[in-house]
Amino acid sequence: MIPKVIDAQRALRFAASAAMALVLGTAPAFAQAEWKPTKPVEFVGAAGAGGGTDIFARAVQLAIQNNKLIDQPILVSNKGGGSGAETFVYVKAAEGDGHKLAFGTSNLYTLPMVAKVAFKHTDFMPVAAMVFDEFILWTKGDAPYNDYKSFTAAAKAANGTFKMAGALSKDTDQTLTRLIEKDTGAKFVYIPFKSGGEASVQLTGGHVQSHVNNPSESLGHWKAGQLKALCVFSKERMAEGPKVTQTQGWSDIPTCKEQGAGIESYQMPRTVALPPGTPQAAVDFWAGVLKKVTETPEWKDYLTRTAQTGRFIAGNDFKAFIDEDEKRTRKVYEEEGWLVN
């Protein structure tokens, strides 16, 4: 009896150590496949509080919190200094840390082209582009223009005195203004403000003739009839939805292409990136979580509210997208003489 017991014990010990070995042996592989945040996560928004990027980061936070997609708390912070460069410098410094995510736009790869900043977009581990913000050509509500052609013709006739307001300098708004100029031969005086919201108020007050704000930046003024949406710079009309003004919903705004513009489409991705050297497992983990976010009702609500186009790109598709968009933007910047890197 006794030896048997010993045998049994030995067998047990063996089994235990075998299991242990198994666990130990597979542990690294396991950790790689199953990366999980182990401390509070920080979402860093590359723009000031209250702007489009801040709301983007907070919408993701809300969707994750409400649906308990991760077990760690999330902190949203805004580091909008240097047109957002502050965020990328900060996240770059957190090398290998999968708990710090940079929320930005195309500024992830366009900023290093126009400003001498200490990062390149290739430093980061890109996670995903989650949504694309549209650009609309807006004029004052009582302006005499009704479409792209009549507006740009008037701008051309005004001989370089038409003012186009926009957010920041050498960023998306100014780039699009240059594209419109090239397309039509009209010349604008581009006046940079700190945010799209400020630009919108300037147009409402009649101090400038137009701007190319994202839908959410001018929603309030459009609703009140103070602004008129001439056309949207996208291939197709925006998603169907309820009426926003008395007569129009977002999908009633014609595309600029319909109206004969030579600009096929111009959109701004909202991007998420991780610090350099973050393990691939963490990148995959976040890509998975963000994918789940896009399926939540909170996210659908965010898209409708801000009139953006949901399109989720991750992994190699996202890298390819960045490369392509970077090249295209670089060409415009080069022609304008904005390049510093």
Partner: protein
């Protein structure tokens, strides 16, 4: 009087038990973050924002705005007690508030500050209630030239006041402008004066500079002067608060002038910081007791405080109706509005009257709650000064550095605070005025942006600053104020001539 109807409806919304409880919590939290320099209202509101996602929008905005009111009050406390402005807008309060505390009149200084702040806020809310429609259409007339003119006016009313030599004042202003240019330039999109340091990308934070110049600089000086802090002898009681309350009506001119400046700057929107400087400047220029300013004159506390709070409350209106945040805190709240599914803009008043008027009603109640709560804390805060300097001094250093850290959670900020502490000390030793530097740093980059935008609009012609009656009037006023000392001496000379001439004839 449709507005009054809506307001009473708003009171019905705001006066529920839950909302009043949120107000109290908000105010108390606000006082706490306001007292800690650096933490301040914008950071406090940002920290609280995620908690409000699941609340109803009315409750959420009441909580956040109450916190804002609390923080505005708390910010003045440290300005007066330790010469450390808890909020940028309470810098001007230090000029006379801190000397009062040093002389053992901390109770009076704090009570004056809180009471006048409450008065300013009330005027702000009343204007908001009565003129909401007119104010929004007025604010729409403001473009870059008008903004520049307003900043210019703020400068003009403050500069040239310091007792120091004119050359020293100019050096101080120019240094302030230079510090303000550090970082990304909005107009050209390029980096300036960062010398390759990534830490300087976002510019030099005004808060950190203030913590250094005032907090640490003051401490260095206090240590050198032999650790004397007369607050120790002050008697501390609630009766002192009452006495101040009784003396308050005597300063009605300063109160009215301060609130008008505050409301004007809140609407335009020049912001609370510019408002408080401008109000202090004008009070010093036109007060009968102007020689006493800077040595502990109650009017020097009342003027900036009324304007600060008047502007803070009035700034809510452009935020709601136009979507322009009048202050950093308002910007964070605007983000909140979008998350709660509300769109700031003219339609908000029509679509969600319960929200807008509930908020406005809560501003009345919230400010009364805030004044009562902070007045009750006066004896408590004033007795902090009784703690021996050997204990409180090191504590202030710690609080200063914690404050500098919370601004951006970055280590280089601590060094910047220390460097500015030394600059503040050297400035005081050499009799250079600090206030012009601070004003230039706060308004410098806004004024620069507005000026360059105007130049783009006018293609380089300065006539744009006289191109319509509004901007023309403000610019003219500013020029008159700037050259005021010149006018005064001219008038005096003419006066002398008139007196002497008859004598010659005789």
């Amino acid at each position: 009087m449709a507005n009054l109807d809506s307001l009473f409806h708003g009171f019905a919304v705001a006066l529920t038990l839950q909302h009043v409880a949120l107000m109290m919590i908000g105010v108390l939290l606000g006082i706490l973050v306001g007292v800690l320099p650096g933490l301040g209202a914008p950071n406090g509101v940002t920290l609280l924002l995620p908690l409000t996602y699941t609340m109803d929008p009315v409750g959420a905005i009441i909580l956040l705005t109450s916190m804002y009111w609390g923080a505005l009050f708390g910010g003045s406390t440290t300005s007066i007690l330790f010469n450390i402005p808890g909020e940028p807008s309470s810098v001007a309060t230090t000029f006379d508030g801190h000397p009062m505390a040093k002389q053992g009149r901390a109770i009076q200084a704090l009570s004056f500050a809180f009471l006048s702040a409450g008065f300013g806020a009330m005027v702000g809310v009343i204007v908001t209630t009565l003129l909401s429609g007119w104010v929004t259409s007025f604010a729409l007339q403001f473009s870059s030239p008008e903004f520049f003119a307003v900043y210019f006016l703020a400068f003009a009313s403050f500069v040239g006041l310091s007792g120091a030599q004119a050359s020293k004042t100019i050096v101080s202003i120019l240094l302030g402008f230079a510090f303000a240019t550090v970082g990304m330039d909005t107009i050209s999109g390029s980096l300036r004066l960062t010398f390759g340091f990534d830490e300087l990308l976002r510019g030099i934070s005004f808060l950190i500079v203030v913590i250094g110049l005032f907090g640490i600089g003051e401490l260095l000086l206090t240590m050198e002067e032999g650790l004397k802090f007369e607050g120790v002898k002050a008697k501390v009681s609630l009766a002192g608060v009452m006495e101040t309350l009784v003396r308050m009506p005597r300063y009605w001119v300063a109160l009215v002038r301060g609130s008008l400046i505050g409301v004007w700057m809140g609407i335009t929107p020049g912001g609370p910081t510019a408002a408080s400087f401008m109000s202090y400047g004008l009070a010093k220029r036109f007060s009968r007791r102007r020689e006493h300013f800077g040595t502990g004159e109650p009017e020097g506390v009342i003027a900036p405080e009324t304007a600060d709070h008047g502007a803070g409350t009035a700034a809510m209106l452009p935020m709601l109706a136009l979507g322009i945040p009048g202050s950093a805190t308002a910007a964070v709240m605007m983000g909140g509005l979008m998350i709660w599914g509300l769109n700031p803009g003219p339609m908000l008043f029509i679509e969600r009257p319960d929200f807008v008027w509930g908020l406005i009603a809560s501003m009345y109640i919230g400010n009364v709650v805030a004044v009562v709560l902070v007045l009750a804390t006066v004896p408590l805060f004033a007795s902090i000064l009784r703690i021996p300097f050997a204990i409180i001094g090191p504590l202030i250093v710690v609080v200063c550095f914690i404050g500098a850290w919370t601004v951006g959670a970055s280590k280089p900020d601590l060094w910047i605070a220390l460097i500015f502490g030394v600059i503040g000390y050297v400035f005081k030793k050499l009799d250079y005025p600090i206030a012009p530097l601070v004003l230039a740093l706060v308004l410098g980059d806004k004024a620069e942006d507005a000026f360059r935008q105007s130049m783009l609009m006018s293609q380089g012609s300065l006539n744009i600053f006289f191109s319509n009656p509004l901007v023309g009037t403000i610019t003219t006023l500013a020029v008159i104020l700037l050259t005021w000392p010149l006018w005064m001496s001219l008038i005096r000379r003419a006066h002398l001539l008139r007196i002497t001439q008859p004598k010659v004839v005789e």
